[in-house]
């Protein structure tokens, strides 16, 4: 059953259409991420769900109640902010009991719930501390606990991990997943970090300029992006643009570029003459060694190393191929230098063809 239904949400600020006709549903116990670059409308959408913005058009239903125009305190949501927004003049206990006192629970129940919540976020015994005495990760967990302790119908998270350093962020990601699975939380999660979205989401909505570009599971979005924008956003990708020159059996297409490169890839539903972009994921490029490629020698190209960045276990190469630049990662055991001439192989089945927008 869908807990949250958003229908045709629209919000304009001056000349900018921040949210452009957005509709989606969230099922109970699911995590839906709103993913996109800065300014794509994800935060505005979340704020409409929370009640801090009123949409110009459209409706929001929570548990079948129309909450579109309701003030935030009546919606029954729990929200976690990017800056945690813990109240500095209250202790951890004060922060956590605030919402419970509003709901007029008796002290015994409040104490119990707080104890449980602190146990879940692994900060038992921290009741008397002040936010300024906590580290970033601890503050984040208290902010999470504060939203959990009121047992809301849905949790809204606005880039909750952005303020943490990289290592802590990764740790907290897994903690969040555990928490979510254990408690069956329904959540809407806003982030600009595609790795984060991939890890925590049941479904991802890719947004750009206020519009939904694609909705799907992480796997669907990674393997079947609808267009270049999605393909390029969800992972590091190089693009080669061209036109379909020939269609073979098994949905193999031949793409001819302006500088006469012929690249074979696989994608159904295309016609000759279609303008396409071939998305090459960073881990699909192979350095060709003799006899290691397909017998018919398709998709082997000569390139020159432009840049080599040593990353420890791998080296990140940028290779000039005709007028295109292809990025690839390769084990640091092989060491090409800038200026080296190399032969690279692009396996046709692993290339993603996305038609250019008309």
């Amino acid at each position: 059953m869908a807990i949250l239904k958003v229908e045709n949400l629209n919000k304009r600020f001056g000349n900018v259409q921040a949210v452009d006709n957005i509709s989606f549903k969230v099922e109970e116990g699911q995590v839906l991420s709103l993913l996109g670059p800065s300014g794509c409308g994800k935060t505005t959408t979340l704020r409409c769900l929370a009640g801090f913005e009123i949409p110009d058009k459209g409706k929001i239903f929570l548990d079948n109640r129309d909450i579109t125009n309701m003030s935030p305190e009546q919606r029954g949501i729990g929200m976690v902010f990017q800056s945690y927004a813990l109240w500095p003049h209250m202790t951890v206990y004060g922060n956590l009991s605030f919402g419970l006192q509003i709901r007029k629970l008796d002290k015994k129940e409040i104490d119990e719930r707080i104890k449980r919540a602190l146990g879940i976020v692994r900060l038992s015994g921290y009741e008397k501390r002040y936010p300024r005495q906590l580290s970033g990760g601890q503050q984040q967990r208290i902010a999470m606990a504060r939203a959990l302790v009121i047992e809301p119908a849905i949790m809204l998270l606005d880039e909750p991990l952005s303020n943490l350093d990289a290592q802590l962020r990764e740790e907290m990601r897994f903690e969040f997943i555990e928490l979510q699975r254990k408690l069956g939380i329904t959540a809407i999660y806003v982030t600009h970090d595609q790795a984060e979205a991939m890890v925590i989401s049941d479904r991802i909505i890719i947004l750009n300029q206020g519009r939904i570009i694609q909705i799907g599971t992480p796997k669907e979005i990674y393997e079947s992006p609808h267009n270049c924008f999605v393909a390029g956003f969800i992972a590091v990708t190089s693009f080669i643009k061209g036109e379909i020159s020939k269609i073979d059996k098994d949905n193999i297409v031949a793409v001819k570029t302006e500088d006469d490169l012929l690249i074979y890839a696989k994608r159904p539903g295309l016609k000759t003459g279609n303008k396409v972009s071939i998305a090459i994921r960073i881990n699909t490029v192979q350095f060709a060694e003799k006899d290691k490629y397909a017998a018919d020698k398709k998709n082997i190209f000569r390139g020159k190393i432009l840049q080599a960045s040593y990353l420890g276990d791998i080296v990140d190469y940028r290779i000039q191929l005709g007028r295109w630049i292809i990025r690839t990662n390769e084990s640091s055991k092989i060491n090409y230098k800038i200026g080296d001439e190399v032969e690279i192989y692009l396996p046709p089945e692993e290339l993603i063809v996305t038609p250019d927008e008309v």
């Binding site: 929200m79 902010f81 813990l86 919402g99 709901r103 936010p131 939203a147």
Partner: protein, 285 residues
């Protein structure tokens, strides 16, 4: 090597001596004027070239406080003026807070176009943007027409005109310094606008709002020019008695000056206790 080592050992002593001298010099500059007034207030006879008064006594103090009534000293009971100043200041603070706290909150939190916000703030600033005497002269002429001259109400209004400038700017910037997410977090968890204000915003804004109140209070106690134009001849505040006395009777004037200073010093103590550093530091957390 010996010479260098000796020089190194002497260096901290030299440094500390210089520090001490500068510190004493600083204290002197800060407190010497008050000290001077203190001496004058208890000087019965002090003629040049003596560095200290020839005769000390509390006569002028007793006159000022209305305990004695010696017409020859030229000092009169200033307690009525003192309590009038105090009373006016308290009323001015109350009205000022009632106006500037909502105004500051609205200008800070509500969605008003920036141009309008700027205009409103400048509107409050305008009275101070012009030379004060012409402004108060004008005020006096206006008040004449509505019969507010020489009334306590008129003086209160004048003090408000001056005080609200600072009050609104201070409260606005105080509310600005509180991140909006703190209130939003309260509302997202179930607090109404009013509850979020009372339990989250107000406690965090308290230091700034108290500062605003103290500022307005002191400003009202010391206000002279406007009060002079509008208050005469019936309303006599303490600064006005000081003005009258300062031309002829230095001892009397010194007593009044100290009486005026007492509230400021008391408030400095109170503020020091109330504005704990943690309060201010905690907001950015």
């Amino acid at each position: 090597m010996n010479k260098k080592e000796v020089k190194k050992k002497n260096k901290p002593i030299v440094k500390k001596t210089i520090e001490m001298v500068l510190f004493i010099f600083f204290l002197f500059i800060l407190f010497a004027p008050i000290f001077s007034i203190l001496i004058w207030s208890v000087a019965i006879r002090w003629y040049w070239p003596n560095t200290m008064p020839q005769e000390i006594g509390f006569d002028y103090w007793l006159q000022a406080l209305g305990v004695t009534k010696n017409l020859t000293l030229g000092a009169v009971n200033v307690l009525p003026a003192f309590f009038l100043s105090l009373g006016i200041a308290i009323i001015v603070v109350i009205i000022s807070m009632l106006v500037s706290v909502p105004a500051g909150y609205a200008l800070s939190k509500l969605k008003i176009p920036h141009i309008l916000k700027g205009l409103i703030l400048i509107l409050f600033l305008l009275p101070r943007a012009f030379p004060q005497q012409p402004v108060f002269l004008n005020l006096m002429l206006l008040f004449n027409k509505v019969g507010l001259n020489g009334t306590v109400t008129g003086v209160i209004l004048v003090h408000l005109v001056v005080g609200l400038v600072y009050a609104v700017w201070i409260t606005t910037s105080t509310f600005n310094s509180i991140p909006p997410e703190l209130e939003e977090a309260a509302r997202s968890i179930g607090a109404s606008r009013g509850r979020a204000f009372l339990k989250v915003t107000l406690p965090l804004a308290a230091p700034g709002l108290i500062a605003s109140a103290v500022f307005v209070f002191l400003q009202s106690m010391f206000e002279f020019t406007g009060t002079f134009f509008v208050g005469l001849p019936f309303v006599t505040t303490l600064p006005m008695t000081l003005y009258s006395a300062s031309g002829s009777n230095i001892q009397f004037a010194s007593v009044i000056a100290i009486l005026l200073l007492i509230p400021s010093i008391i408030f400095m103590f109170i503020i020091q206790k109330l504005l704990k550093a943690e309060y201010i530091g905690g907001i950015s957390g």
